[in-house]
Symmetry: C2
Subunit: 315 residues, 2 copies
């Protein structure tokens, strides 16, 4: 019984961690957005991959949504004294991951191979794959012009109004080795509660990925609950694109791709509207405050699809 | 009254710090070996420049001879977990200097400009210059073949037997902007107690530097005391090249370049031999255990040359 999860950062990472706790490691492949990847201080940084790996390794900071819990900050403090760019907060331990990944990429290894090996060294047993080994940087098209994703997201605090997105290089990008095989073998593809526009759309845009999902059971957990995004700019972006943010808007966004939709109990009134999109709708408490919540939600979603849930791992 | 000091790492850096404490900042230029510079983990590392700047900034580790006193080690600990190369110990704060220097070099600034600015940001008032903005990597020619300097020095712990040296790219290297002017304006050029073979010879080998020193008062402080190097492989290299290590051997090595030589009191018996090389010989206690020692030795060396010593700064 194989399962594929598609993930961006925080919400998707928590859901993937829940899945890792209710599935045998060999049955779970997590395909992660790399549209946020960028070059910074000479390093290749992959924020969503890092958040997924740190979360599954039990190393993620419980509150920030990025970086590690056991972090120190000597590097960035000193960089500040030296007048270097400190807008992207890199911790001392986090730095080791960026520098070692960059070293191996420059030595000619693909991102997928480096990610698999580094994730294992951090104790992650499930397979974590970048959506592609090819760079496909996301540009946010704003009222002020196109902004590289991290500039929009971190440096500008997602304030400029969004008009659209461009996934540069996407037409020539190939799915990373293992991605299409994992989808092909999967009983179900699960879209975690990540930002539809900038986390999951890039994955679905990689040529071949959406096609591989045809005929599969595909379910999404809504990242919008009660009209609000739990974290990040998803709701703000819906509004700026002229769509009132709601779980139904998310479901509509994925029309034709999803067979099933998981709705938070607070959004129960949207059930029939989403059914109208040709999806089965399931109701759950989707907010993951604790590791127990992740495990429970992952188990419930598998149950909705009629998939067996393995013994729950210690949380 | 202008003075130029030539320096490698530890001993030269301590002497330069002594000079900085007895000379007005505008009168002191320190020209530093960059033959040890190398690329590591995607960063340009300049070990001697860093040691000089950290020492003058009061940030140097008092015992190791490299790195900072106020250091943390999260980065290298994590790099080890990730299976990365840890043979060159880089601290978290030290890393900021390497990364920021590399960032600015890649943006097109010369090493000399970056060094001057970063040194000032760390509170260094004297002028610190690399000998050249052009890379001139030192290779140690050993019985096992040529080794890049850091591989010989750090990874191999200076164990392979030395047959000679190669300063790659030296024939095309130009002195860094400001180097020839500083020598031209200087009343004296002072060679700190650094390794003659791998610290000072590279500086003297930069086309134009030795020529600029002709007719100047040029003094060296012996890095070999009682037949031993205070730190590092200088004595071992003399022996491997067939010369018994001694202060006189150092003086002989610089014959034709030096006008004056500072001998440690324990080597007093070599005084007449070194006079025979056409040098004035001065006796001092050259071992610098404390900041007071640096200040005293620097003041004494200036006095030997008949140069005025400024008010001593707080140590």
């Amino acid at each position: 019984m194989k399962v594929v999860a598609l993930s961006g950062g925080v919400g998707g990472a928590k859901f993937a961690d829940g899945l890792a706790r209710v599935l045998p490691a060999e049955d779970l492949t997590i395909i992660v957005n790399t549209g946020d990847d960028f070059e910074h201080l000479g390093m290749r940084i992959s924020p969503d991959l890092d958040t997924v790996v740190y979360t599954l390794a039990g190393l993620a900071h419980p509150e920030t949504g990025w970086g590690r819990a056991d972090e120190s900050w000597s590097f960035i403090e000193t960089l500040d004294v030296l007048g270097g760019p400190t807008w992207f907060r890199v911790g001392d331990r986090d730095l080791a991951l960026h520098i070692e990944r960059t070293r191996r990429l420059r030595a000619g290894e693909p991102l997928s191979g480096v990610t698999r090996d580094l994730a294992r060294r951090m104790g992650v047993e499930a397979t974590v794959l970048p959506m592609s080994d090819d760079p496909t940087p996301t540009f946010v098209l704003t009222e002020e012009g196109p902004l590289p994703f991290q500039e929009y997201f971190v440096a500008r605090g997602w304030q400029p109004k969004v008009k659209g997105f461009r996934f540069e290089g996407m037409d020539r990008a190939r799915p990373a080795p293992g991605v299409l095989q994992a989808i092909d073998q999967a009983q179900a593809v699960l879209l975690g509660p990540s930002n539809p526009w900038v986390s999951l759309d890039p994955i679905l845009a990689v040529p071949g990925i959406r096609e591989a999902m045809i005929g599969k059971r595909v379910v999404a957990v809504s990242p919008i609950v009660g009209g609000k995004a739990l974290k990040g700019p998803a709701a703000k972006i819906f509004t700026e694109l002229g769509v009132p943010p709601s779980a139904a808007a998310v479901a509509s966004h994925y029309r034709g791709t999803l067979t099933d939709f998981v709705l938070d109990a607070v959004d129960r009134e949207s059930e029939s509207e989403i059914r109208g999109f040709g999806m089965k709708v399931w109701i759950a408490d989707t907010i993951m405050r604790s590791v127990e919540d992740r495990t429970r939600l992952a188990g419930e979603v598998l149950s909705f699809l009629g998939l067996p849930v393995a013994e729950r791992r210690a949380v």
